[in-house]
């Protein structure tokens, strides 16, 4: 074990009240099996999982309900044994607030496991291991929900040198990773060793914020005799847990927006993801549950081990309900989270934290003042953007300029809004500008296609018109010719007849 001291500080960031001690006083509790489980088929980045069951099917715990559809997708398993009740569109915990396909399962409370298949990864090829991981259902549990088998995949140009474990957990309130490290440190370290050898990495660095002393002590003692695992304490400055910010803090490498860390020989996993991978490979247990922090305006804030698909309502009920009733819950942290559309949504793979909204979080905020260009936002921006300029361009729909000022490098961390004296919801303006630009470019593409089509149509119509005109002209010409000839002939005939008559008369 070695303590690395050198820290590379990124620009700005904020030091908000962490409010983490609210939910770390009690140990992780397993939430009992709920009376109904509703599993969204899309809990990850990528394609929706392909359904493998039908209504009325009996499933066992850990049985495949939906398999990964292609490579960028993740499987869904039954979190407990029971019967499939229905497959329909229900509200899911997503910022859009739109319903999506869910499988409803009625548990039989036997919690009977399907046959587990631990992976003998040391004796099979990496490719085979990876193939098995495709149906583990494991995604990045830090919140990104990127399918993990892709990160462990062999399809890489550059070898991975360093495995970085994201244990920063920089958002206020959230403590699920903290508690996991405190209580399941052993699984974590074994998982790290496993993933490190799967990746072929030389070393592992655990990045942890300096506000998690207890977790730090436990992990430090566990890696004392591990020569290739280091722990690095980073300052509690939000957003230190953002992947690229954490890599910079640890290694001093600034990875641009459009690049992946693997191109720099670095791969990063969240602590919870590591434990999930470990449990899948060691015990053959797919991703069925996660640790969720429930905190904020709630009677008994703590961390729960919750089966995916459990209705949020059960979780809230077990935690004693809201202190002040307002029926508003945030998913994720207060800096980047969003309000849940309903208390009836279910816990998913990305739900690391549920904050029962404090009244001041959702109160009607004061009217924003104009920007006074104090540049506090620029001082706080961890990406070194100029938020005041981006705001100006977004507000006045100068999207091209906004892009020139690197709007798309914005990670929407919210630091600028947090420090703005004029109370301007800056991040909302950037989201608006981004979505406008994206929809404009789609519209432009469609317009291009439409224009091409239209040009072709005009060309075709022109050509047809011309052809028709030519044909008409020809016909007309032909017609007139024949008519004239006819006329002339008729006249000639008449003349001839007249002449004949005259001749005949003379002859008489």
């Amino acid at each position: 074990m070695k303590l690395l001291d050198k820290i590379f500080k990124f620009n700005g960031g904020i030091q908000a009240e962490t409010k983490k001690d609210i939910s770390t006083k009690k140990t992780i509790k397993s939430l009992p099996i709920p009376s109904e489980i509703r599993l969204p088929l899309r809990q990850h980045i990528g394609k929706m999982a392909k359904l493998r069951v039908k209504v009325g099917d009996q499933v066992l715990k850990g049985e495949l309900i939906a398999e990964a559809d292609g490579n960028i997708s993740a499987a869904i398993h039954a979190p407990t044994s029971g019967k499939i009740k229905s497959i329909e569109k229900l509200l899911i915990p997503h910022p859009s607030g739109l319903p999506d396909f869910c499988v409803t399962l009625i548990p039989d409370n036997n919690d009977k496991w399907v046959k587990k298949f631990p992976i003998d990864w040391k004796n099979i090829s990496l490719k085979e291991t990876n193939k098995l991981l495709l149906n583990s259902g494991i995604v990045g549990l830090g919140g990104a929900a990127f399918p993990s088998h892709l990160k462990l995949g062999t399809n890489r140009n550059s070898p991975i040198k360093t495995l970085i474990i994201n244990a920063a957990e920089c958002e206020p309130y959230i403590t699920c990773d903290d508690m996991l490290m405190r209580e399941r440190g052993k699984d974590l370290i074994e998982g790290i060793e496993l993933v490190q050898s799967l990746l072929g990495a030389e070393e592992t660095i655990i990045g942890i914020e300096d506000n998690k002393l207890e977790a730090f002590k436990i992990i430090s003692s566990l890696i004392e005799k591990k020569p290739n695992i280091y722990i690095k304490v980073v300052p509690t400055i939000y957003p230190s847990g953002d992947a690229k910010r954490l890599i910079f803090l640890i290694n001093g490498i600034k990875i641009p927006k459009e690049k992946r860390s693997s191109e720099y020989g670095i791969q990063m996993f969240n602590v919870a993801t590591i434990v999930a991978i470990f449990r899948f490979i060691q015990y053959g247990e797919p991703s069925l549950s996660r640790i969720v922090t429930i905190t904020g305006n709630i009677k008994e804030p703590r961390n729960y081990e919750v089966l995916f698909g459990t209705p949020l309502r059960s979780l809230v009920k077990d935690a004693g309900g809201q202190k002040i009733k307002n029926n508003t819950f945030l998913m994720g942290g207060p800096m980047m989270g969003f309000t849940l559309p309903s208390i009836d949504v279910s816990v998913t793979k990305t739900m690391n934290c549920v904050i029962s909204a404090e009244p001041e979080m959702i109160q009607v905020t004061e009217e924003p003042l104009p920007c006074i260009r104090c540049s506090k936002c620029a001082e706080a921006c961890p990406v070194s953007l100029q938020p005041q300029e981006l705001f100006w361009f977004s507000k006045s729909d100068q999207f091209e300029k906004a892009q020139n000022y690197n709007l798309f490098d914005c990670i929407e961390c919210g630091c600028c809004s947090y420090v703005c004296p004029s109370n301007i919801p800056l991040v909302q303006f950037y989201r608006y500008a981004k979505s406008e630009i994206i929809s404009q470019s789609i519209a432009a593409e469609e317009a291009d296609i439409a224009r091409e089509r239209n040009d072709f149509r005009i060309l075709r119509l022109d050509r047809e018109k011309k052809e028709r005109a030519e044909r008409n002209a020809q016909r007309k010409a032909e017609n007139t010719n024949t008519d004239k000839l006819k006329l002339i002939e008729e006249k000639r005939a008449e003349i001839a007849a007249a002449m004949d008559r005259i001749k005949n008369e003379k002859n008489i």
Binding site: P172, M335, N423
Partner: protein
Amino acid sequence: MINQQSPFIKKAPSVTWIMMLVMLGLVPGTLACVFFFGIGILLNLTIAIITALIFEYFILKIRNLPIKLFITDGSAIVAASLLAISIPSIAPWWIIVIGTFFTIIVAKHLYGGLGSNLFNPAMIGYAVLLISFPAVMTKWPLPASHLLDFNLAQQIQIFVYGTKDVIDSVSSATPLDYIKTQILLNRPYEVNFTKGMPINSYFNASIIISLSFLIGGIFMWIKKIITWHLPITFLISLALISSIFWLVDSTRYLSPFIHLFSGGTLLCAFFIITDPVSGPTTPKGKIFFAFGVALLVYLIRVFGGYPEGIAFAVILMNICVPLIDSLTQPKVFGHE
């Protein structure tokens, strides 16, 4: 607007709070000015603030903007105060009113109001007054003379009726003005800071006033309302530029010491050029801007037609702000 999107927490001083801290920062300097130049400074301040609020009220009404929201932001009070402090203590009331009119109505609201003004409003008001009424604007009483020979009644009389017959005996040109004239006329001038100068000499008064503004400035820096970039660059640049000239010919050019501690140098460094709205926003831009102001201040003071060049220097550099900002964009994370 309902805050339904992240972030759900925030911790920022309000604009009103920032403006209040700026006013607090102005307190030591103002008190020093009152001590040396009389209660007239306070009269100026009071009238400036009152008229500024009245102007602000009416223009907000005309522009159909929410009056309570904008009148409580404190920006009008700060702009009016900065203007008032720059005006001689023996100026009549209408000078203040005209200056405030240009500060609030013309420089601030005709350009779009809070956050949109291109030019520093207080400096526009000051420049208009300096050009229109040079005689009044360059006549200050001898420092601390009010302690000796005029009372409050007399001050108010000056304030209402002007200085005509009252105090020609106690008013004079500012030191920068005096020295400039002496140098132009090739006459010797006396500046001695260390020996035998009474407390009421211009220079010692100037030094104490400057240090009081410095204290206020440091207060604002500690409170994180301003960063070091603008004031420090401005002061260092002015010191460097004046040192170069002074070292070349110390008989024709004043020492950097006099430049730093005369006129409104310190007031300018911490309170005038730090106006966020009309100034640059990037760290590098702030350095260029402050250097530009320092250079122009020096050139106007030494070679220009006015004894003090801060207002013009600031306004001229305000013009360059959009260019400076666009040329000094910091490197975005991962773009180097």
